[in-house]
Amino acid sequence: MSLVFAGICPHAPGITGRAHLADPAAKDRLYGAFDQMRYALEATKPDALVVVAAEHFANFFMDNMPAFSIGMADSYQGPIEDPDWLGIPTTMVPGNAELSNRLVDEILQTVDVGYAQEWKFDHGIAVPLNFLTPRYDLAVIPANINCQGPPLTPPHRAWAFGEALRRAAEQVPERIALVGTGGISHWPATPDSVKINQEWDRQILDQWVAGDRQALIANDDVSSYLQGGQGAFEIRTHIAIAGATQGYERTVTYYEPIPMFAVGCALGWAAI
C-alpha cells in the first residue's frame, strides 16, 4: 500500500551488551525511547519492516563489497555475535522473500542494489529488533549500505537509495515500515571508543529533521571522520531515511550521548 512508518535509531552493541555498566537512569531513558518508537511503529500495523543498516562485516567483505544490498530470504539468523557478549539470544527472524523480490525489482529501476538470499544479522540489525520487534513476529527485510569498508557508498547515493525504497514501498500492497540504524558520532571498537561529539550529532540531527539534502550529502568521509569518527560513516542510513520521507515532518524524539554505549543515541521518526 505505502510507506507507513520511517524512523532512525542507534544500534551500538553496548546498548544491550553493556547495559548493566551504564548509568541506569540514562539506560532507562534510552530504553523508554525505544519503547515509544515500538508503540509508534506497531500503531501503523506494518506488514514488514525494512531495516536499513550499516552492517559490520557479518555478510559482506572486501572480496565483493556491494554499495547496497537487500535480503531476499524467508528467514534470517542472528545475531552472529556471542549472545552473552551482545546480550541478545541467537534466534531466527522471519522474512518475506517474495516481498523482497518485488521491492528489489522496483529499486533496481534507479539504484543498482544487490540481493542476498542468505544474511546473518549482526548488532546493526539485532539491537534495534531487540527493542522494536521483541517477539520477532514481524517480517523483517534487511538492507545494507556500505559504511564500513572504503571506498564507501557516497552520501548522495544513500539519499537516492532512500528515494528508491519509498517508491518501491508505495508500489506494493503491503504496509511497509522503514528504520535506519547507526551513527551518530562514535569511534567504535577503537582506542577512541569513549568519544562522543554532541555538537556534531545535533548538527546532523538538525539536517535530518530539516530534510536538508545538500547539507546531509556534504558530509563526506573526511569531514565525517574528523567530526564524528569512523562510526559517523553510518549516517548514510539516516540520510536514506531522510530521502525516503521527503514531504513528511520528521521529529527527533530522543537524543543523549551515553559513553558506556560509545555513541550519541538518537531516535526519531516521520509523521506519515
Partner: protein, 124 residues
C-alpha cells in the same frame, strides 16, 4: 603484509561456527588456508590484539575476535593502545587512512571532541 587475508580469516571466524570449531581444534591448519606472513600467524595464534590493531585490522572485526578469546572490553581497549605504543602507528587499513587515537590522517588535525563523561568511560 596481507591485511586483507588477516581480516578475511577473522571475518570467516566471526560468522561461522564451523570455522570456530576448526580453529580451536587445529589453528595452524586453518590459518594455512590463508596467505599470511609469519608475523600475522603468530599474532593470530597469540591473540595479540595490540599487534593486530597495529597491522590495521578493523575494530569491527577485531572486537569479535577479542570476545571469542574471552578478552574483556576494557582489556581489549587497553591492548590496542599498548599495541600502538609498542609497535608504532597503524600500518594500513581504514585507521591509517582516517586517523585514530590522536594520530592524524592526511595531515589533518585531530578534532577535540566532547569527552565530558570520559572520566567514567574507561570501559566504554
Amino acid at each position: 603484509m596481507s591485511l586483507y587475508y588477516v581480516q578475511k580469516f577473522l571475518y570467516n571466524l566471526n560468522r561461522d561456527d564451523g570455522v570456530q570449531a576448526q580453529f580451536r581444534a587445529d589453528p595452524r591448519a586453518v590459518l594455512a588456508e590463508y596467505d599470511l606472513t609469519e608475523e600475522e600467524i603468530e599474532a593470530l595464534l597469540g591473540s595479540d590484539i595490540g599487534l593486530l590493531f597495529h597491522l590495521g585490522v578493523n575494530g569491527q572485526i577485531l572486537m569479535h575476535f577479542a570476545a571469542f578469546e574471552q578478552i574483556e572490553w576494557a582489556d581489549y581497549l587497553r591492548l590496542m593502545k599498548e599495541g600502538i605504543e609498542k609497535h608504532g602507528p597503524v600500518r594500513e587499513g581504514v585507521y591509517a587512512v582516517t586517523g585514530y587515537g590522536g594520530v592524524p590522517a592526511r595531515g589533518e588535525p585531530v578534532p577535540t571532541t566532547d569527552t565530558a563523561e570520559s572520566g567514567k568511560g574507561a570501559m566504554a
